[in-house]
Assembly symmetry: C2
Homo-oligomer: 348 residues x 2
Amino acid sequence: MRIDELETPIGVVDLDRLSANIDRLQSYLDTHDIDNRPHIKTHRIPAIAHMQLQAGAVGITCQTLSEAEVMCSAGITDIFLPYNLLSKAKLKRLMLLSRRARISVTADSAATVAGYADAASQEGSPLPVLIEMDGGCERCGVTTPEGVRQLARQIDSASHLHFGGLMVYPSNPESNAFMAESKMLLAQDGLDVERTSGGSSFCMWQAHEFTEMSEHRAGMYVYGDRNLVDASVMTLDDCSYFVLATVVSRPTEGRIVLDSGSKALAADSARQSPGHGLIVEYPESEIFKLSEEHGHVDVSRCDRKPEIGERVTVLVNHCCVSNNLFPRIIGHRKGEVELEWPILAKGW
Amino acid sequence: MRIDELETPIGVVDLDRLSANIDRLQSYLDTHDIDNRPHIKTHRIPAIAHMQLQAGAVGITCQTLSEAEVMCSAGITDIFLPYNLLSKAKLKRLMLLSRRARISVTADSAATVAGYADAASQEGSPLPVLIEMDGGCERCGVTTPEGVRQLARQIDSASHLHFGGLMVYPSNPESNAFMAESKMLLAQDGLDVERTSGGSSFCMWQAHEFTEMSEHRAGMYVYGDRNLVDASVMTLDDCSYFVLATVVSRPTEGRIVLDSGSKALAADSARQSPGHGLIVEYPESEIFKLSEEHGHVDVSRCDRKPEIGERVTVLVNHCCVSNNLFPRIIGHRKGEVELEWPILAKGW
């Protein structure tokens, strides 16, 4: 069966490109002696996580407990969960999970560390807790080296916690300097920083410049999307994930409507390009608006206009959130359908 | 069990408000003798569709074949699918469905009508096809009354199709005038327009002003969201759907991070208000950025700052796309959990 015969909208993955993407990053990180700990939030599929591990990843990264639970159930034993887990219910699940796999987590506050310490107090082996630092991007994270020192002391002094190192997202020169400064402070306390975790697909080919980082977490590199192509991190020919769509209307000469809206492409805007994705066959077009089940496209600049019923291929702005909207994904090689993967690791 | 005990993020529905919203619109439309045909794309839950029918709706509206198949399997027998269905696979499913329920569809092109005519040619009873018109909002739809006449003739002359009327989204003065003009043209051809379908929750309380419309399709009115509150169509106290979130970080005095990002709230921006939703307990705050599993919130204007671990209630920008991100939803009355509804009618 060819992917051209699949009902649209549907997400498809080119398995050859997927493998090439996995191998390319692994090879680069191996060359620079950086541990690869890919983020599975992009694909949420155990089979792809296993491909990443087989290629040489030291473990995986998950963003939610549910993702980690599914991956653990799929036989994956080294999982980093860089998230502040707080409630009694989530901490209980975390402890159950940590008995089945090597789980490490992060904290950026005394409250989070206190919760881990309390939850782990009945456990046999200590829970590794890394400190999340904010390298200036206004996400989670401790904002000063002194703050890192205070939190590291709290973790180190908790009898059932283990100070696991430092973590930042994304890696950049500021976060690298922050990490260096924090390490020096921690050395004064006699605290060894065994693991320093950086991340992002956008900076993946610069990972070797962030000399303070011992491991790199990238997610989107397996699929690629418009943001990564815009940023010249991947080429269009590297991208493995696309949404197949059908032209369902052409109300005017210069405007068509696709059967793929915000419930398939996701409404996230691109960092640089206008519109809601790139139509590969019509690069001059612009998906200027999304309704839930319709993509509204300006084709006035296209020499040939797409016909009603014609199928097109959309490179989405952000692969992680589009992939998340599908219950399953189709794997193919050169357009020939090879498999169907349920997207299992969803939810919180 | 109280909703305060549920793990976050999670979507919850206040069942008393839900019922009140269903009754309020039904009562208004009854008063003005307008048929109510609610759009279930908002909730995608058969039980809520049954509540709408029980209140007096003449049938329901679905946006995808999968939604219609699930609703049909849940015993709903009158379904409007205002969508250009084109591929052989989808037309085959449509025909199977039309043997089990009263299905009506729309077309805005000769190609779509030809597909219906071909697919229906083996069926015993004719398929009702309404013509979608564009009232000026640049969505799907025929753009001129003369175009409507041509398409109506094509539908009327197809032996297994039935000209079912006219449809527009959203209802507005322009689309109302367009409908009046089209009706006059069709009358010259001796074509009766038995059903004129308008829609949108934004204009629902003006439905009686659109005198050409015999039925109204609204979806979001059951839940409400920030867009509808901004537009003064519903009040905050009318809204039944909220996402419960937890503060997982407070990196600086003026900034907190929620455990609800674009995979729970959806990244759709609001039509008027800035940010990605309203935090009910902190109306002065602004969710200024979403990552996938984090909501980044400016709380600098709040007198009291939310604590780490504190739970908050988010009114999302667009209820349909947030609801779509959850596998199930919790129904409660005054905070006491009453039921859990799987969101069954997903996909295409």
